[in-house]
């Protein structure tokens, strides 16, 4: 299996260079002294300082985090329920419509989702702001959560749940004590996915927000339309650093957990 030919080495090197060079350039030029992003004039961290004093960006970042925490939590609850219904619910009236509504938002173009939600909010006279973005983000991210969670539920051994029921658990207890701990990794990654989707969303947020609530992507987009700027480079670098840190930490934690689980299983077999 391990035939690493020169062709593979070249394609992997070029491929990963293509994926990473743009971001590396962006990071390097965030430490540029000059206001012109394309001319290097010496090392400086002044753009980070300016960013920290830019209230508009800080406010937008705060709004974005609030929206992401609320919507991903709500989406995780609703998405897990939806996944449970899809995998365990059996037949019920309107199941086809339900599964259609779970999968459709995944492929719906963002411009259409945004437009339709805006028209709904105007129709029912809801003032646009943080609340409407939270509602919009919950709607599309609950579908991603339910896909992630149901893939875990499908492979899950149902007899464990039945054993708990036989041993006198109520269905709610069986869910809390048996099912939930086992699907927890999927629920957590569903939450993280919903959180990142919410942080990242520009199009739907632009449609569903009002003047009172500007999220970071909306702010970045309007700044970037005027051209590249060192401040945006600094902001991007911070965001890339946070994501990299988060992804590496989670992957180390899951790796550690897997190793531990394996060891426990081996010990259980031995005893």
């Amino acid at each position: 299996m391990n035939k690493t030919s020169w062709f593979n080495v070249v394609s992997l090197t070029l491929g990963f260079a293509f994926l990473y060079i743009p971001m590396i350039i962006l990071i390097i030029f965030s430490f540029n002294e000059s206001k012109l992003v394309t001319v290097w004039a010496g090392f400086s961290t002044k753009w980070y300082g300016e960013l920290m004093q830019n209230e508009a960006f800080l406010n937008a970042a705060w709004v974005t985090i609030k929206v992401a925490v609320f919507s991903s939590t709500l989406a995780t609850v609703l998405g897990t329920m939806a996944a449970y219904v899809m995998v365990r619910g059996g037949r019920f009236r309107g199941r086809t419509l339900f599964s259609g509504m779970i999968y459709a938002p995944l492929v719906m173009p963002e411009v259409i989702t945004g437009l339709s939600l805006l028209l709904l909010f105007i129709g029912i006279g809801l003032d646009r702001g943080v609340l409407t973005i939270v509602l919009a983000h919950t709607t599309f991210s609950m579908c991603y959560v339910s896909v992630v969670v149901s893939s875990r539920l499908v492979t899950f051994d149902r007899s464990l749940e039945e054993a708990a029921l036989d041993l006198g658990c109520s269905p709610a207890q069986a869910f809390r004590l048996v099912t939930l701990p086992i699907i927890a990794p999927a629920v957590i990654s569903g939450w993280l996915l919903a959180f990142t989707l919410s942080l990242d969303d520009l199009v739907i947020a632009s449609f569903t927000t009002g003047p009172s609530a500007t999220t970071l992507p909306i702010k970045i987009f309007s700044a970037v339309r005027l051209g590249v700027s060192p401040e945006i480079n600094a902001l991007s670098t911070i965001m890339i650093a946070i994501v990299t840190f988060g992804v590496i930490t989670t992957s180390l934690v899951t790796k550690h957990q897997m190793v531990r689980q394996k060891r426990e299983e081996q010990e259980a077999v031995r005893s």
């Binding site: 299996m1 391990n2 690493t4 062709f7 394609s11 992997l12 491929g15 990963f16 293509f18 994926l19 990473y20 743009p22 971001m23 350039i25 962006l26 030029f29 992003v37 394309t38 609703l78 329920m81 939806a82 449970y84 219904v85 619910g89 019920f92 309107g94 339900f98 509504m101 492929v107 173009p109 411009v111 259409i112 437009l115 339709s116 939600l117 028209l119 709904l120 509602l135 919950t138 709607t139 609950m142 269905p171 942080l199 990242d200 520009l202 199009v203 970045i220 987009f221 970037v224 339309r225 051209g227 590249v228 945006i232 991007s236 965001m239 994501v243 990299t244 988060g246 992804v247 992957s251």
Partner: protein, 293 residues
């Protein structure tokens, strides 16, 4: 009763915030524009019964779309841009996915993480990164001028080429991952058998590897093509005024022209166009699942 409590919240949520809004879009696409708030006239009501309602239906916004060249061009050019960039993404992504299955297996999780990492990084930032590279004074032109390959800077930013680069770059993980998972399942002895039977490496690749990774290729292509068709961010940051994409047209129709009925009609047609690739994609996924069982 308990089951009802479990089904009801997500069901009601989706009915209210997914299906109803969409029904409203369809309804508004059939109304007239007006200079008011909200800027459209709800043309007809349900009061007189369903037949009266259906008799009043007129499709003038849709007819308007067919009469104005702009919309035809926008749909066609979105289609073209999405198709070409999907093909390019496949061309770039396949060798990477293939290379990933050919390295020692202890490297694979790391390479996998390196593919996924950009996917978690903000889409907007990844598009923005290219603005600095592709502009006239950008890093690419600086490099090419410095090496003496060109004498005058190339104009790449604000053209369709920049849009292709942006789509390939941002959607690359969607192409690599399904192809990688198809190639990883591939049994190497099949290729050895083909080589034993007299195939050259290249013919074995063409006759064995490619067909066996077909499901991954198809899945990857749809995962790039479907979102690319409605793309808004990439054409508005990297594309020029002549790179028409329907997502951008819808946005401008809505925010700049405030023509809600036409924006809604544009949305309805975009969705109708997407139904075909989405159905094909689902069929492919189903076939794949059946093949695995």
């Amino acid at each position: 009763m308990r089951r009802f409590l479990l089904i009801a919240p997500p069901y009601a949520w989706l009915l209210l915030l997914f299906l109803t809004p969409f029904a409203i879009v369809v309804k508004i696409s059939l109304s007239d524009i007006a200079l008011a708030i909200p800027p459209y006239v709800p043309k007809f009501s349900w009061d007189e019964g369903i037949w009266a309602y259906l008799n009043q239906l007129d499709f003038e916004n849709f007819i308007f779309l067919t009469e104005d060249n702009l919309y035809w061009k926008a749909y066609l050019s979105s289609f073209k841009i999405a198709a070409i960039s999907t093909a390019l993404t496949l061309l770039v992504g396949y060798p990477i996915a293939y290379g990933m299955t050919r390295v020692p297996s202890e490297w694979r999780p790391t390479l996998m993480m390196l593919v996924i990492l950009p996917f978690w990084t903000s889409f907007l930032i990844r598009v923005y990164a290219w603005m600095g590279i592709l502009s006239n004074e950008g890093y690419l032109n600086q490099l090419l001028l410095w090496t003496g390959i060109i004498d005058t800077p190339l104009t790449i930013l604000n053209t369709n080429t920049a849009v292709y680069i942006g789509i390939v770059y941002t959607y690359l993980p969607f192409m690599i991952l399904p192809i990688y998972s198809a190639l990883e399942r591939l049994d190497d002895s099949l290729i050895e058998a083909a080589e034993d039977l007299g195939c050259s490496r290249l013919t074995a690749f063409w006759l064995v590897t490619i067909p066996l990774s077909k499901t991954g290729i198809i899945a990857g292509c749809f995962l790039v093509f479907i979102p690319a068709l409605g793309e808004f961010v990439i054409p508005s940051l990297l594309g020029g005024s002549n790179s028409l994409m329907i997502g951008k047209v819808l946005w401008e129709e809505f925010f700049s022209n405030r023509d809600w009925p036409v924006a809604s009609a544009v949305a309805v047609i975009l969705l109708l166009l997407l139904v075909i690739p989405i159905v094909l994609f689902q069929r492919n996924q189903q076939n794949q699942q059946e093949a695995e069982q």
